[in-house]
């Protein structure tokens, strides 16, 4: 099978901090991602999810192994891998529409075309009326929607999302999940989505990858065969509940390990 993205025995060891021991954040991990896959990576806090995603983005170097995108080794960050961060990273000096246009300007897309694309994505994330607001004038959810629009407008090969809704309340979070899923169902991007919320992991995914407690490695890899388009009511369907029960067990075992280690 030809992978869109191949994480090939990637590991990461952080050097010792002030007389401590080196931290093995990620154990050699292999994961193949097919074109149009929506993969959610589920794992307890501190298990190396962000580290793995940053390595795929090219923002961090693996201690061992390599990442291949379309067969080419990733050596640094690039526009082919769009990223939405765990923290709010909109450029505070740019308006919402300028933020969304950032990557397009960087690639030299002409002004007119740029405006069309920005308008289309602002429409899609429901922020048309906030085009000229500065990030400070937006709520957290709106900022993350802008960040998603900013990443998507750049038309990346693969979209990396690091707990993008982690700081949002449950209701907003549910709406954002549907919004992102709606966009994915239409555009069929290849997505890697990190979360520690089990329901979110199932609802969004075509495949859920469970990571073990630190040092992180892949503990389970489950396909999610729920039909598309998905609707929030699905979260109470028997299939969904069964999957959730199973993943809860997996995660609980890992969380226990963390708790006992401390």
């Amino acid at each position: 099978m030809i992978h869109k993205l191949l994480i090939d025995s990637v590991s990461r060891v952080f050097p010792a901090v002030r007389g401590g021991v080196p931290v093995q954040a990620v154990e050699p991990t292999t994961l193949g991602v097919a074109q149009n896959d929506f993969i959610t990576i589920l794992g307890p806090s501190g298990c190396g999810k962000s580290t793995l995603l940053r390595i795929v983005a090219g923002l961090d170097r693996p201690s061992g192994g390599r990442v291949l995108l379309d067969g080419r080794e990733v050596r640094g960050p690039g526009a082919d891998r769009g990223m939405v961060f765990q923290s709010y990273t909109l450029f505070p000096w740019l308006t919402v529409s300028q933020n969304v246009a950032y990557g397009l300007r960087e690639r030299g897309v002409p002004e007119g075309r740029r405006r069309e694309i920005v308008a289309a994505y602002l429409e899609r994330v429901g922020l048309r009326d906030f085009a000229n607001h500065f990030p400070k004038q937006l709520s957290g959810g709106m900022q993350q929607r802008t960040a998603i629009a900013r990443a998507l407008a750049n038309d990346p090969q693969i979209l990396l999302l690091d707990e993008p809704f982690g700081a949002l309340d449950n209701q907003t979070r549910a709406l954002m999940q549907e919004l992102l899923l709606g966009i994915w169902e239409r555009e069929r991007k290849t997505v890697l989505f990190v979360t520690h919320d089990i329901e979110e992991a199932i609802f969004m995914a075509s495949r859920v990858v469970v990571m073990s407690a630190r040092p992180g490695r892949i503990k389970a890899d489950l396909p999610v065969d729920l039909p598309h388009p998905r609707h929030y009511t699905m979260k109470t369907s028997p299939d969904f509940v069964a999957l959730k029960a199973r993943l809860t067990e997996e995660i609980r075992a890992e969380a226990m390990k963390v708790a006992q280690a401390h």
Binding site: G58, T89, L94, E106, R107, R150, N154
Partner: protein, 258 residues
């Protein structure tokens, strides 16, 4: 009782700010008119105003003011033109920082006023020497403070730019510079204030014009009213330039307040 960090209204702010000036002048008037301080050492507010009026109408003090302002602005603009780019490059590229920073840190502590005699030997007592004093006084401070500000740019913003396809050059131009522009403007405002102290010292020695020159002449005449008038003029110019800088920053960087 006001609580910590509780904001006050614009009106209250103005009232309180003015009140301090009024109290200050009142205390001064009380000390001088009441005879608690000898006239020889400290003129009273009215004498100060009279002396100021005489300075302006008979001794063309406004020309001295203009000369001093020009020196400060000239020397400062020169320093800023070189220091801002260098500071940004230093903050952005750690190898440049490693190369330049130790020397700049050292040079920063060289007192600009101590260079006055040396600069007179090198550049004479013309305008070049005055500009150089201010240049030396502000350049190293600016470079270092700007480099620190740029070096502290939020890493996640830089990373976000890279994942959007930015090149190294464009990260400097389109992230490091705009992210720190307000901070840089603030540093310029601060250091401009310091430049005023250097210019006065430079004008004390070997100068035939400027506010500092007038002050040193007045000392020989024991004209404390004139000295105080000169000092207050400097303060007022500082206050005005400060306001102008703040207003400019507000219009240039609306996203800061938004």
């Amino acid at each position: 009782m006001p609580r910590p960090l509780e904001p006050v209204s614009q009106g209250t702010r103005l009232l309180l700010g003015t009140a301090f000036f009024v109290l200050f002048v009142a205390a001064w008037a009380w000390a001088t008119f009441g005879g608690y301080v000898s006239r020889t050492f400290l003129a009273d507010p009215l004498t100060m105003l009279q002396d100021g009026w005489v300075l302006l109408t008979r001794f063309e003090f406004h020309i001295d003011i203009a000369v001093t302002v020009w020196r400060v602005v000239g020397g400062f603009v020169l320093a800023a033109l070189l220091a801002v780019p260098l500071g940004i490059v230093m903050g952005a590229y750690k190898s440049v920082e490693a190369f330049v920073e130790p020397f700049v840190s050292f040079a920063r502590y060289l007192p600009a006023s101590a260079f006055v005699p040396l600069l007179i030997l090198w550049a004479g007592i013309g305008e070049t020497q005055k500009l150089l004093v201010i240049f030396i006084g502000s350049f190293f401070q600016l470079v270092l403070m700007i480099a620190v500000a740029v070096g502290q740019t939020r890493r996640d913003l830089v990373e976000a730019a890279y994942t959007l396809g930015a090149s190294d050059m464009s990260v400097v131009r389109r992230v490091l510079v705009p992210a720190n522009a307000p901070e840089i403007a603030e540093i310029l405002r601060l250091v401009l204030g310091w430049a005023w102290t250097y210019v006065i010292v430079a004008e004390f020695i070997g100068s035939s014009s400027g506010i500092g020159h007038m002050i040193i002449e007045s000392q020989a005449l024991l004209a404390t009213g004139q000295i105080i008038f000169g000092i207050i003029v400097i303060g007022l110019i500082g206050l005005i330039s400060d306001f102008a800088f703040k207003a400019l920053n507000r219009t240039l960087f609306p996203w800061r307040l938004a």
